[in-house]
């Protein structure tokens, strides 16, 4: 049979393709049917948080920081409750990372503050002596791309039914509504309102001035995202 295949390239290629597809069909397809459902209490990202998530991706934070707490005592002691599948339901893409050059950030919002992030991102070694994390000074100057974050919200709500402007069940039995703008202008206004809350806890005068002038530096969006990780 193999000798015959080696003389018939078409059937050879078909044979190879069937052999390599097999694993994918068995391993991946069943999980697709059973889409990962959101955990109760997991809410979609707000516009500013999503813009911050894009800043996180733009700077490949995931190259050094994981967002996956494994079910070991040493990990739950350090980072909090181990990760559950439903918590990632609104993560497109997933940001688990594959290397912890720095600590896990899955629940960083529980134990770090806006003020801490502001100082740390400017000069990590000044906050954590011995840190090898680079300074992310440009985040204080570059302006976050709110339009694209809004486009992403629209995309996930239209193509994947992510529940924006709809009640989402919370752990205590109540519901919460994460709002999304109806237009680009409204989305920007909403993000700015969120940014003002963050900036109230910040010290950098240039950043404060930028937000006062209606512009949101990347650092503000990033902190909004990091604070949302709980």
């Amino acid at each position: 049979m193999f000798h015959w295949l080696e003389k018939h390239p078409f059937f050879f290629a078909v044979g190879v393709f069937v052999t390599i597809s097999f694993a994918g069909l068995v391993e991946i397809v069943p999980n697709f049917a059973q889409q990962s459902r959101p955990l109760i209490g997991t809410t979609p990202y707000s516009t500013l948080e999503l813009a911050g998530r894009q800043v996180y991706i733009k700077n490949s934070c995931n190259a050094c920081h994981s967002q996956l707490i494994r079910p070991f005592k040493s990990e739950t002691d350090r980072y909090g409750h181990y990760s559950l599948s439903g918590e990632y339901a609104y993560d497109r893409p997933f940001l688990w990372g594959s290397k912890r050059t720095g600590p896990d950030l899955m629940r960083v919002g529980n134990y770090r503050t806006t003020d801490w992030h502001e100082n740390h991102m400017k000069d990590p070694a000044a906050v954590v002596p011995g840190s090898i994390m680079p300074k992310y000074t440009w985040l204080y100057k570059n302006i976050a791309d709110i339009d694209t974050a809004f486009a992403e919200q629209l995309t996930v709500s239209q193509f994947f039914s992510v529940p924006y402007n709809k009640p989402v069940p919370m752990k205590d039995g109540s519901t919460k509504i994460v709002k999304m703008g109806g237009s680009v202008a409204e989305a920007n206004a909403m993000a700015l309102a969120e940014a003002k809350v963050i900036v109230a806890d910040m010290k950098d005068q240039d950043v404060k001035d930028a937000v006062a002038n209606g512009k949101i530096p990347e650092i503000v969006a990033l902190i909004a995202y990091l604070n949302s990780l709980k």
Partner: protein, 497 residues
Amino acid sequence: MENRPLEYDYTVAKMFMLTTVLLGIVGMLIGVILAFELAFPGINTILGSGLAEFTNFSRLRPLHTDAVIFGFTLSGIFATWYYVGQRVLKVSMAESGFLMFIGKLHFWLYIVGVAAVVVSLLAGVTTSKEYAEFEWPIDIAIVVVWVLFGVSIFGLIGMRREKSLYISVWYYIATFLGIAMLYLFNNMEIPTMLATSAAGESGIGAWYHSVSMYAGTNDALVQWWYGHNAVAFGFTVPIVAMIYYFLPKESGQAIYSYKLSLLSFWGLMFVYLWAGGHHLLYSTVPDWMQTMGSIFSVVLILPSWGSAINMLLTMKGEWQQVAASPLIKFMVLGSTFYMFSTLEGPIQAIKSVNAIAHFTDWIIGHVHDGVLGWVGFMIMAALYHMAPRVFKREIYSKSLMATQFWIQTLGVVLYFTSMWIAGITQGMMWRAHDEFGNLAYSFIDTVTVLHPYYAIRGVGGLLYLTGFLMFAYNIYKTMTAGKELAQEPANASPMGA
């Protein structure tokens, strides 16, 4: 007419040889910079704080991985295909104007793709998925490049004189099919410009931005099914294709066992795809998939070692060649590193070992003993074998090649030993508890302890890069100053002193 040997046409092979060398230098240089950035963080702002955004670790890291995978390795795969393909199918590219056109188009579109990738990654335009960072416009370009590669493969096969496909061709076909399937499924994404707001606005925000079709755990599963098998079909399958051709050719020995190559090929095809789950152990992916990932990773030793043993036994009775020829040294040590790496991988895939190894530098060490010791050595050996036949000149310097071999071997050894120690140290410190059950170390303790290992790794990488520059110089001098050859050598590439 009948007795005249075929004149093969290496135009396209030469083009890809050039990019193999150039992108190899770029990718490895960035790697060395990254290594030293971890050891000495000041290097993150090496070009001043104004340009720090483009020289810091996190922005450069995807550029390093993609430059060595899709730059150096892929160019090497293409270069060897355009050389090996003609020879084992007994047909010349010059016989078909169409295939020659496709080959050149393949090259130039590839160059356009590489340029787009470099610009976009430096700008931070990325999907964040490892080895699949490119946004949808580049994905489309990559698919076109890949289709052209497929046309080249099957076009050449279609007009072959040798009816039976040689083992290397099996592996090139598998490379083409495997990457095509993996890449398409992993990069399913929806451009955000397609969405419309309630106010009727569309085309909002960055036109190149997209959202993954899969969310959370599903996304992770597809990504690591891709990520692991991109290694399979980028770093294993096509490199095995190379060694099946170049080792017998260079040594003048026949392949040891046809049956072993059959078993290894079909075994590898079946088993490899299951193993991706080992990247997701103790994650939120269903348990049975994690277990399958572990089990099949261990089973994977069989087909991997099958190929490697087949190669080593091909040298049976001819071991003096290893001492005499640095080119044979590269291939034999390459097979050995392949065995080493494919034993190490399954060990790391065992759940209890993975609990320590995952997220640490041991994984980085594992990747690099595979890519530096196996992929890098094999591609350089392939180009060394091709150079005298493509340029019709002796290899410029044998002693330079031998020196390069030892420098690079030392580099690889420093690299993986330091990363082993770093990884296991860090993994053990993360999980250490004191007598009261509290964590024994804060996270930063587990970072500062790694400094000496990061420095040693940087030196290892620098040695490997130095060797690669010697390789580039040797190839350049072969092209320009090597002694001309009247006749193509049957085996054993001729080398100057």
